[in-house]
């Protein structure tokens, strides 16, 4: 009988930390892969130290941010600098399908877990390395954080207002592109191995994968010499198009009008005031030429309404409009996310309940099944006994030698 999990039988040894790698491996775990996250007691995943903490009490197992990205995984600790710790890691790889790592180039080889070494214990192993700028090259050793490196990738120059310096997403935006490419490599490689019997070693970078999200702008530069620039919320092929202040404290709704039909619909929703019949607003081009004035007039209407009222009335008329949703809107109010079950309440062995996010796609036969994030080293013994087949004595001996440090 086949399992109801898409990735039944796949085992992943996960050396990745922070966001990119762990998000990818969590998606695998949610779909039935057995993911073994490897940390060390002296150097746990740094994300365990990121706020917020449950009840605002710090602790190695209390970060709810860490918890969101590390559900559906087993967790063991190993001292990879200890020769027996390294042996354990290799034994684990020998019975696994995929190894993931996001260390700086050279690190995994220094530990003795480079591709050549891994192939010796498992010839068809799939090793996936994701670094910021790639395994080699003049900048490959540059220390980087996604939150800052997004600017080097060109993203932040493209956000904000033309009359001001660029703004920066408070989040490490490339960390939310990289995982999908890691997963594509992993899943593609599993299918490839299924048909050919061969594994492989991937050298992925957030730089090279993330830039695929800027391809039109890059083509515009290579072909037309145009250097893309930030433009607030405006669009070249839609008007009105922007965020409009609504009734309430810092509440906004976006409205985007692409066709003259939609423009007429918007006019009807607003009550067809006289100013809307002015020929200077009749076509896209003329609206673009009077965009500042138009935005001000529309906001004169939206300010009288809640963003919900604006969205609902616009949508009823066939105009694409949406609430600019806050964290509160997303968790407490959004009925669509509730329908999708996006926010799941998990039960964690130490912190109890916390909200974790479901993956954004639903497989009809093998939907995701989410499990709580693990405590540090929670499954070291389980992995040793059940997966590696160590006896009581063997395990206790290694424990006493600090192999699981």
């Amino acid at each position: 009988m086949t399992g109801s999990h898409a990735l039944q039988g796949v085992r992943v040894v996960d050396f990745s930390w922070q966001f990119t790698g762990p998000i990818a491996t969590r998606f695998l775990g949610d779909h039935g892969a057995q993911v073994i996250k490897v940390e060390s007691l002296s150097r746990p995943d740094e994300a365990r130290g990121y706020a917020p903490y449950k009840d605002n009490i710090a602790g190695i197992n209390r970060s709810t941010l860490f918890a969101n990205y590390n559900g559906s995984k087993l967790d063991m600790t190993l001292d990879l600098k200890n020769p027996q710790g390294l042996e354990m890691a290799k034994k684990l790889v020998a019975v696994s399908d995929v190894v993931t790592a996001t260390f700086r180039p050279g690190t995994i080889e220094k530990f003795g877990l480079g591709y050549e070494e891994l192939q010796k214990v498992k010839p068809d192993i799939i090793l996936v390395s994701m670094t910021m700028q790639g395994q080699w090259g003049p900048f490959s050793q540059q220390p980087t954080l996604g939150a800052f490196f997004q600017s080097t990738m060109g993203f932040t120059e493209l956000m904000g207002w033309p009359d001001r310096t660029a703004v920066i997403p408070p989040t490490p935006y490339p960390d939310y592109i990289g995982p999908w490419f890691m997963l594509i490599a992993i899943l593609g490689a599993l299918s490839y191995r299924d048909r050919t019997g061969k594994g492989q070693y991937f050298d992925l970078s957030q730089l090279e994968t993330g830039l695929h999200f800027l391809t039109p702008a890059l083509l515009d530069y290579f072909v037309n010499g145009k250097i893309a620039t930030r433009n607030g919320n405006r669009s070249n092929h839609a008007c009105p198009h922007g965020a409009y202040r609504c009734k309430g404290d810092d509440r906004w709704c976006v409205i985007s009008v692409f066709t003259d039909e939609e423009w007429k619909a918007l006019c009807r929703v607003i009550g067809s005031p006289a100013w809307m019949r002015d020929p200077k607003f009749a076509t896209l081009i003329s609206r673009k030429n009077n965009e500042d004035e138009l935005d001000g007039l529309i906001e004169g209407w939206t300010i009288e309404h809640s963003p919900e009222e604006v969205m609902i009335s616009m949508q009823a008329a066939g105009v694409a409009a949406g609430i600019v949703q806050s964290g509160q809107d997303l968790i407490d109010r959004d009925p669509q996310l509730k329908h999708r079950g996006h926010c799941q309440v998990m039960d964690h062995p130490e912190i109890g309940s916390y909200v974790s996010e479901m993956v954004p796609f639903r497989l009809s036969k093998t939907p995701p099944q989410m499990k709580s994030a693990p405590c540090l080293g929670e499954h070291t013994e389980y992995v040793c006994r059940e997966i590696l087949g160590l006896s009581d004595e063997e395990f206790l001996e290694l424990l006493s030698k600090g192999v699981f440090g």
């Binding site: 493209l158 935006y173 695929h212 609430i323 806050s326 968790i331 909200v355 954004p360 796609f361």
Partner: protein
């Protein structure tokens, strides 16, 4: 043409998507899948969206179209006509994947929903990329890039405090949907390789955007704390920290470091500043043991002022070189031209020239998705012209005669 081994050579996808789902098929194509872009007669509406080759608005010159429909062949087909549906079903028999982004219920009404396709081909994997998913109170809502970004929560946390929330000026929402759709599709593929059964993959673009929000949901869940937009600053414990520092020829990204992880880097920066006599009293700080949360705003401002003074004597390239040499986290804020010229990308051979004979030129694209010891991902063909492969697919593969093809075209079926 050199031999390229792809991860998924030999598979086939029928790609009915509009702009909301282009990237999914593009990524499958990069992995070697034979992706057939199925467009309505006259071509997909996105062909009329710029930027355009030499700024000429033309359905065969849209750079957006080129970007996300490379590695696909192209046919035209009117699936709203019964004969068109029959042709589509013939193609479904030969396919592994069907990707689409039409409103909920549309494919079902045409007799081309998942259950209908499964009757024809039990192995078919159908991937539907929609703004909110297949069902639910918002599932019939009209969407655009900006509404997805707003409804997904990313806009709320981006922008200056004294101005509206803001989106990326190069559209991102649909790309998240497309990339994640590819992930879901490949999961379904692995399941099918083990079990023989296909399934329906239902993507919500909104949920994909929610996945880009870092601590936003945890902060509301854990303490009812609202994350708000703060421009080029970060707010931490009610204090404001700069995240973009002006330098001689632009801006660099980074923050004051302190404590165990970033303290040593800050110390190295201050040492470099001290070499120029610009370290002020920063050189007296023990950066490794400092607790940043306990620092007063006036002190933060003072430190940042000293750092700005130093950075203003250096270009972005000089600071990047310094960052590599001395292991600092500061990195340049680049525009598109600087990205195109970025030495690391050139060294890695990232840029790929793709032939566009109809335009009389080659165009440079971002190239591979990854480097691999065994396989490769690259652009094997440019994006298709409207109906470019009608003869290949309908004529050569399905065996439809030229006369019949003329008739089908006349009747509006292809």
């Amino acid at each position: 043409m050199d031999e390229v081994t792809g991860l998924l050579d030999g598979f086939r996808a029928l790609d009915l998507t509009d702009e909301k789902g282009f990237l999914c098929g593009r990524l499958l194509g990069d992995l070697g899948v034979d992706v057939i872009k199925v467009e309505p007669r006259g071509g997909d509406p996105a062909r009329r969206v710029g930027p355009f080759f030499h700024d000429t608005s033309d359905p065969e010159k849209s750079l957006l179209w080129f970007a996300y429909n490379s590695n696909k062949r192209g046919i035209t087909l009117n699936i709203e006509m019964v004969e068109g549906q029959e042709l589509f079903k013939r193609l479904v028999k030969t396919a592994d994947f069907v990707i689409e982004s039409s409103p909920p219920g549309y494919m079902d009404r045409l007799g081309l929903g998942f259950f209908a396709l499964r009757e024809i081909n039990p192995r078919i994997i159908m991937t539907s990329i929609l703004p909110f998913g297949q069902a639910g109170p918002y599932s019939a809502y009209k969407a655009s890039d900006i509404t997805c970004m707003a409804m997904g929560g990313l806009m709320y946390i981006c922008g200056d405090e004294d101005r509206p929330p803001v989106r990326f000026s190069v559209e991102q929402s649909y790309l998240h949907g497309g990339a994640q759709a590819c992930v879901g599709t490949l999961m379904a593929l692995y399941h099918r390789l083990r079990t023989g059964e296909g399934q329906h993959v239902d993507i919500s673009i909104q949920e994909c955007i929610v996945w880009t929000l870092d601590y936003t949901l945890p902060y509301w869940d854990t303490g009812r704390r609202l994350v708000k937009r703060t421009g080029t600053y970060q707010k931490r414990m009610d204090k404001t920290w700069l995240r973009a520092f002006p330098c001689k020829d632009g801006y660099i990204a980074g923050m004051v470091g302190g404590g165990l992880t970033t303290g040593p880097m800050q110390a190295r920066l201050v040492a470099a500043m001290d070499d120029e006599g610009m370290a002020d009293d920063l050189k007296d700080m023990d950066w490794k043991s400092i607790s940043l949360d306990a620092v007063m705003q006036e002190t933060i401002n003072h430190w940042e002022e000293a750092m700005v003074k130093y950075f203003m004597t250096r270009t972005k390239a000089e600071i990047q070189a310094e960052a590599i040499k001395s292991e600092l986290l500061f990195c340049p804020s680049n525009d598109i031209k600087e990205v195109a010229d970025y030495p690391q990308l050139k060294a890695r051979d990232y840029w790929q020239e793709v032939e566009h004979p109809q335009l009389g030129t080659n165009i440079i694209y971002p190239g591979f998705l990854f480097k691999s010891s065994e396989t490769s991902s690259k652009i094997r063909r440019r994006a298709p012209l409207i109906g470019e492969h009608n003869q290949e697919l309908y004529g050569e593969e399905l065996g439809i005669s030229r006369e019949e093809l003329v008739l089908l075209k006349k009747e509006g079926i292809i």
